[in-house]
Symmetry: C2
Subunit: 380 residues, 2 copies
C-alpha cells in the first residue's frame, strides 16, 4: 500500500472510526484501525465487541483531490497513537507507505514516523447485512429521540437487556422505550419506510446509541437504518455504523402506564424544573434525592426537601390547571429533573393516581413522548 | 443579622472566597463561609489550613444600591450548598435573616430556604499582618510569573519545601524559582517598591499560587503584596488573600546553573515545541518520555523517540544558530514541553555542557526567565 492523503479528511475519518476501538483491547488487533486503499478511495474500519464503524474517503470530492493511491493495499495501525499524531503532523499532506511485515512509513513535512503495523487478514470481518428493508430518519430527529430516552436506560449490568433502548416499528411509527425499573422514558415519531414494514423487540445498547448520536452530523442529514437478525446498520454519508442487538426479551411496559388519574396538573416546564433543581441541591446532601410535592388549598403547589444537617428548601409554584384530589407525594428529584430536561414544550402535564402509583409526565404541545417515575413510599 | 443583597454581587463574592473552604473540613466550621454585616457592607470570609480569602461587598457602588443592612450581625453558613443555591435563586434580590441559634432564613422570589448556620465566634481569626512595607505588581504580570514557574514545583509531599515557589526580592527585582530536583524554572521582574526593601527565602505553596492566580482579575489590576513573618497578604480591589509561608529553607540552586556551554543552539520556539510534542506522543507509550536530540553534519538537528511496540518518530529541524561541539543528548520530553509552553519569545536559546550536564533553555528576546532540565543518562 502506498498513498498520499490530505490531513484534514484523514483526520475526520479517523476521529469517526476510532470511537469503535477498544481502549484496552483483549487482542492487539482490536486496538487498531484497518486501512483498505483502492484506486477509488481509502476505507477505514474499527471494531469492538459491540460496534463497528467504517468511513470511506473518496480519492476526489468534486474538483478537490483528497487522496492519490499509488499502490492499493491494506494495513492495521494501532489506533491510540495514530489518532493523536495525525492531527499534529506538520504538513497538510501525509504519505503512507506499507513495507514488508506491515511496517508502515508515515511522512509529513519534516516528520518521519515508522509504525509497526498489524496483519489486516487478522482484523474481524464486518457483519453481512442483507438490505431488504430499511427506514430513513432525519439525523436531528434520531439524535433527539436518543437524547429523550437514553438517560432512563439502566446502567447496571445485572439486567443487561435494560441497559438498552427498545425499538419498535409499527405502521410507519418508530417508538423508543427505556426503563431502569424506577422510571421510564418513551418517544415516538413517524419515519420514512414501507408502511407494511414492522419490527419489534430490537434492543440497542444505550452507550452505543450515545456514540451513534455523536457521529450523526448536526446539519441536514438522513440516516438509513437496516435491521438484520442480530445487527443494526446505520448509514450516514460516508460513514457506516454497525451495532449489535442485545440478546433477550424486553419486558412489556405497556401495562404499568396508567391512563386515568386522581390528580392532574398543568405546570410551566422551566419554572417547575428550576424549583425542583433547588430542592434537589438540598436533597442531594441526604443522598436520597427525595423531594416532596403537595397541592395547597390556595391553588399553588409546594415543592420541598430537607436535610438534617443543612436545613430545608421550600418552593411555591403557580399551577396553570389543577383537577382532582389534593395530593402529597415524594419522588427522586434527579429522575424528575432528567425527564423535565428533555421535555420540549412550554407547559407539561403531570398525572398522579395517588402517593404509591406511577407519576406520568407528558408535554402538552404534542403526544410524542411520555415519562414515568415511581414515587418514594415515605412517611408523613 | 438581617439584610437584602443583590444576587450577582453576592454570587461573585461567594465564588471568590469559597476557594478557601475545605471540601472535606476536619471541623464543620471550616466548611463554612462567615458573613459579617455592618452598615458599610458585608464581609465574607473563608479559611482552610493554608489560605484565607476575604471579600467585601459595599452597600453602595456609586449610584447602585447593592445591599441594605437592616440589622448588623454575623453568621457562618455551610459553603458547598450555599455556593450552588445562590446562583440558582429565582429573584435578583436575596433576603438573609439570622434568627435564634444561628438559624438563617434565605428568601428570594418564590424560594424559602432555611439553613442551620454555625456560630461565627468559632470561626478562625484571620492572621494579623503589620503593613510596614509592601510591593505592588500588575495583576497580569503576577499571573505570568506564576504560570511560568509553578509547573516545575514538586508535587511530592516528601520534600514539602519543594512543593512551593521561592520568592526573593532584591534591589526592586522580584524573583521566582521552583524546582522538583529534575528541572528548574525561574522568572524575574522589576516591581514597584522601596528600592531598599528586600526579603529572601519566602516560599509559597504552588497550589496556593494557582488559586491566587485564578482570583486575580484579567483586566488592569494592581496587587499589593505584604510579606510578614509566616504569612503573605495579597490585596486586590475588594479581595484579600492570605497565604501561609512554607516552613524550611529552600535549597540554593544558583550553583547548579551552568554559565558556559559546549554546544549552543538557537531554535524556533514553536517549531521545536511541535516536533518534541510529536516525539513525546511516541515516548509516552514507553512511560519514560525519553526523547533524543542530536546535531547533524548538515546543520539540522534530529529529534527522535521510539517505542518497542509502536515504532519510531524522527523529526528534523532547522537551526537558526549552532555553535560548539556536536551533541547527542536524551531528556524527559514532558519537562521540555512544560518549559517551551511558557517561553514567550519567537526564538529560544538552548545551552548544553555535554550529555550528562543540565540543559539550559532561555528566551532570546529578554533575560527574565531561565529553565533547566537534567538530561537522562542513556546508552547509545
Amino acid at each position: 500500500m502506498k498513498l498520499t492523503i490530505r490531513k484534514d479528511e484523514l483526520n475526520d475519518a479517523i476521529q469517526h472510526v476510532s470511537k469503535a476501538t477498544s481502549p484496552r483491547p483483549t487482542i492487539p488487533i482490536l486496538g487498531g484501525i484497518k486501512f483498505d486503499a483502492t484506486h477509488q478511495g481509502v476505507t477505514l474500519t474499527a471494531s469492538d465487541a459491540d460496534i463497528s464503524i467504517q468511513s470511506f474517503i473518496p480519492v476526489e470530492d468534486g474538483d478537490l483531490v483528497i487522496a492519490k493511491v499509488d499502490k492499493p493495499g491494506s494495513v492495521v495501525l494501532p489506533s491510540k497513537f495514530f489518532v493523536e499524531i495525525v492531527k499534529k503532523l506538520p504538513s497538510d499532506e501525509i504519505e503512507i507507505e506499507v513495507r514488508e511485515h506491515h511496517q508502515t512509513m508515515i511522512r509529513s513535512g519534516s516528520s518521519d514516523i515508522q509504525m509497526l503495523g498489524l496483519d489486516p487478514e487478522e482484523f474481524p470481518v464486518l457483519p453481512t447485512i442483507e438490505e431488504s428493508e430499511s427506514i430513513t430518519v432525519p439525523g436531528d430527529l434520531l439524535k433527539s429521540m436518543i437524547r429523550q430516552t437514553v438517560f432512563a436506560a439502566s446502567t447496571s449490568e445485572q439486567t443487561p437487556i435494560l441497559t438498552g433502548v427498545l425499538w419498535n416499528l409499527h405502521e410507519g411509527e418508530l417508538k423508543f422505550v427505556s426503563t431502569d425499573r424506577h422510571r421510564l422514558a418513551s418517544r415516538v415519531a413517524p419515519v420514512d419506510c414501507d408502511p407494511s414494514y414492522r419490527f419489534s423487540n430490537i434492543v440497542i445498547s444505550g452507550k452505543t446509541l450515545v456514540e451513534l448520536s455523536r457521529l450523526v452530523p448536526d446539519e441536514n442529514c438522513k440516516v438509513d437504518i437496516v435491521v438484520a437478525d442480530n445487527q443494526v446498520l446505520f448509514k450516514m454519508n460516508q460513514v457506516l455504523f454497525y451495532s449489535r442487538i442485545l440478546d433477550g426479551t424486553y419486558p412489556d411496559t405497556s401495562k404499568i402506564i396508567p391512563k386515568e388519574f386522581q390528580t392532574e396538573l398543568v405546570l410551566h416546564t422551566k419554572k417547575l424544573m428550576d424549583a425542583i433543581d433547588r430542592a434537589y441541591l438540598m436533597s442531594r446532601e441526604e443522598k436520597t434525592n427525595i423531594v416532596r410535592l403537595a397541592t395547597q388549598d390556595d391553588g399553588l403547589i409546594e415543592i420541598s426537601s430537607s436535610s438534617t444537617e443543612l436545613g430545608r428548601v421550600t418552593e411555591h409554584l403557580e399551577v396553570k390547571q389543577l383537577t382532582g384530589e389534593p395530593l402529597r407525594i415524594a419522588f427522586n428529584s434527579k429522575y424528575m429533573l432528567d425527564a423535565l430536561k428533555v421535555i420540549d414544550s412550554e407547559y407539561l402535564f403531570i398525572g398522579f393516581r395517588g402517593a404509591m402509583s406511577p407519576i406520568i409526565i407528558k408535554p402538552t404541545d404534542h403526544d410524542n413522548s411520555l415519562h414515568l417515575i415511581l414515587p418514594y413510599r415515605t412517611t408523613g
